[in-house]
């Protein structure tokens, strides 16, 4: 078996005979950033939940470091679309909850130091003792990211983490995330709807198509194409559109989403 994370023949069926997606296979190398992009309802979130162990597939297997994934684990940190912070806890307590779950034997001081380090990493030291309700949407999502990084998982699963943010906030957090990922050599699997986000962040982009009824019969959804990002790894959001090959890549993805991803 090759790869750090291996997905083999994954499928999910709600209506018998008409799987939402089938035969999804791909691998993810250590330290690689993979984005999956596709229309709503194609099964992206289901795939991510299966990888997280929160959902089970109807068929197929997921292996991480040659061991089958069969349930949620601290080895895979998840950032949820809706940040999923506990509103009765402060930022500090939210992250400490995760840290204590990861290392139950750590003394208090060590937990606190670890929490403060990761809060500082996302630039929220000033708001560390505030409740999530006092934070803006972008800040909440930063806390969610800090929480996922704080348990130092072997890989990170991001379910459209910036979907609910405005464009400006989204941009600055993307830069932040990219910096942290490059620094920590984190392996990341991320869902997005945003083509530019995928081009900026991903080493590889998986294009997913929806299931459809064609003339030849029912065609389940699945991965239509895997693109390797040709742009240099040291790229920034501000200068992204000036890089050679950017428009070709972007046009290819947009064409796919418009013409091929969904049955019309």
């Amino acid at each position: 078996m090759e790869g750090f994370l291996t997905i083999e023949g994954l499928g999910k069926t709600y209506v018998p005979g008409k799987p939402v997606f089938a035969d999804v296979s791909f691998t993810l190398e250590r330290g690689e950033f993979v984005c999956i992009i596709g229309h709503s309802g194609c099964g992206k979130t289901t795939i991510l939940n299966v990888l997280a162990g929160l959902d089970s597939a109807s068929s197929g297997y997921v292996f991480m470091e040659n061991r089958q994934v069969s349930g949620p684990s601290l080895e895979r940190g998840v950032v949820f679309q809706s940040h999923a912070l506990m509103p009765w806890l402060t930022v500090r307590q939210n992250i400490a909850f995760a840290v204590v779950s990861r290392w139950p034997d750590w003394p208090r001081a060590q937990v606190q130091a670890h929490v403060e380090k990761f809060v500082a990493m996302v630039g929220l030291s000033a708001a560390i003792d505030q409740k999530p309700s006092q934070l803006s949407g972008g800040m909440k999502q930063r806390v969610g990211i800090a929480r996922a990084f704080a348990i130092q998982p072997k890989m990170l699963l991001l379910d459209e983490p910036f979907g609910a943010l405005d464009a400006l906030t989204r941009g600055s957090i993307q830069d932040e995330l990219l910096g942290i990922v490059r620094e920590t050599q984190q392996s990341v699997f991320m869902i997005t709807h945003d083509v530019d986000e995928a081009i900026l962040l991903a080493d590889r982009i998986l294009l997913m198509r929806n299931s459809s009824e064609t003339g030849a019969g029912y065609l389940p959804g699945g991965i239509a194409e895997v693109l390797t990002n040709p742009l240099p790894r040291q790229r920034a959001r501000a200068s992204l559109h000036r890089l050679e090959g950017y428009y070709a890549l972007r046009n290819h993805i947009v064409d796919f989403l418009v013409t091929r991803a969904k049955a019309h």
Partner: protein, 288 residues
């Protein structure tokens, strides 16, 4: 803004005015007949003489509704000696109140011990919810006093029967609210706990309990309100001690001032209990 224009100040002023108006109406309604019996303008010797003749001027046994003056002296008498104990039928109101609060506290505490864990089970298990629902639906609307004969027969102790009645009336709102609160804990928080491999006990206490706490506290507040309503009736039935028994006893004594005093005390204590739970509720409520 000047202080006298604040809403709280004006509302307080209006409350005082309404109170004065009610007292005024009382005073006028009870006035003419009772004023003849008033002790005002009598020397202590005259009062004593009147008492010896069986015409105690300060007594509520005088025919007619008690006057404000009589009411005031009764209130003052109770408040200055809240803890006296002159045998089974003559105890200070604070002692009677303590008996009632003790029964309510005990019955309510037992109800918590049953309702909150059971509510957790019902909230987390759809199977248990469906299985127990018919029982809850049938038992919930039963007037708690209907249990009294059964309790007296099986427990054979009137005081414990009173506690049982409080238990049975407090248990339902807590149970239903706990189950609802636990069942509606957001999926995402449970998912976070799962991905962090949080064990079931830690999850119950650190995720589900705080998430459901506002709903549970609402149930407890409703239960406490009902328990305080029921204790008076229960104590009237079982007798012996308690503020409810006090009311009944003073009715038998035809001492309306004492009855009115007890009614006000029941109201004030009920309000204080409710305020205490409101504070608790505020403490566990979170903003999303």
């Amino acid at each position: 803004m000047p202080a006298w224009r604040s809403l709280n100040f004006r509302a307080g002023l209006l409350s005082v005015l309404i109170l004065l108006l009610l007292l005024g109406v009382w005073s006028i309604a009870a006035g003419p007949t009772a004023s003849a019996n008033s002790s005002a303008g009598m020397t202590p010797e005259q009062i004593e003489y009147a008492k010896m003749m069986g015409k105690d001027p300060g007594s509520a046994k005088a025919s007619g509704f008690p006057t404000l003056g009589q009411m005031g002296s009764t209130v003052w008498g109770h408040l200055s000696h809240p803890f006296y104990d002159n045998g089974p039928n003559d105890k200070g109101f604070a002692i009677q109140l303590a008996y009632s609060l003790g029964r309510v506290g005990l019955g309510f505490g037992l109800a918590m011990l049953v309702a909150i864990p059971l509510g957790f089970v019902i909230g987390m298990s759809p199977l248990m919810r469906k299985a127990l629902d018919p029982f809850i639906q049938v038992l919930k609307p039963i007037s708690p006093l209907a249990w009294m004969p059964l309790a007296l027969y099986t427990i054979k102790d009137s005081s414990i029967s009173g506690v049982f009645v409080i238990f049975i009336c407090s248990v339902w709102p807590m149970l239903v609210n706990t189950a609802f609160g636990v069942a509606s804990v957001k999926r995402e928080w449970l998912n976070v706990a799962s991905t962090l491999e949080v064990g079931p006990v830690r999850k119950a206490f650190l995720v589900i309990l705080p998430a459901a706490a506002p709903t549970i506290l609402t149930g407890m507040r409703i239960s406490m309100g009902i328990a305080w309503l029921v204790i008076v009736a229960a104590e009237m039935l079982v007798g012996g001690t308690g503020i409810g028994y006090f009311v009944w006893n003073e009715w038998n004594n035809l001492s309306l001032t004492n009855v009115i005093f007890a009614i006000v005390v029941i109201g004030v204590v009920g309000m204080l209990l409710d305020l205490a739970f409101a504070q608790l509720q505020k403490a566990v409520t979170y903003v999303e």
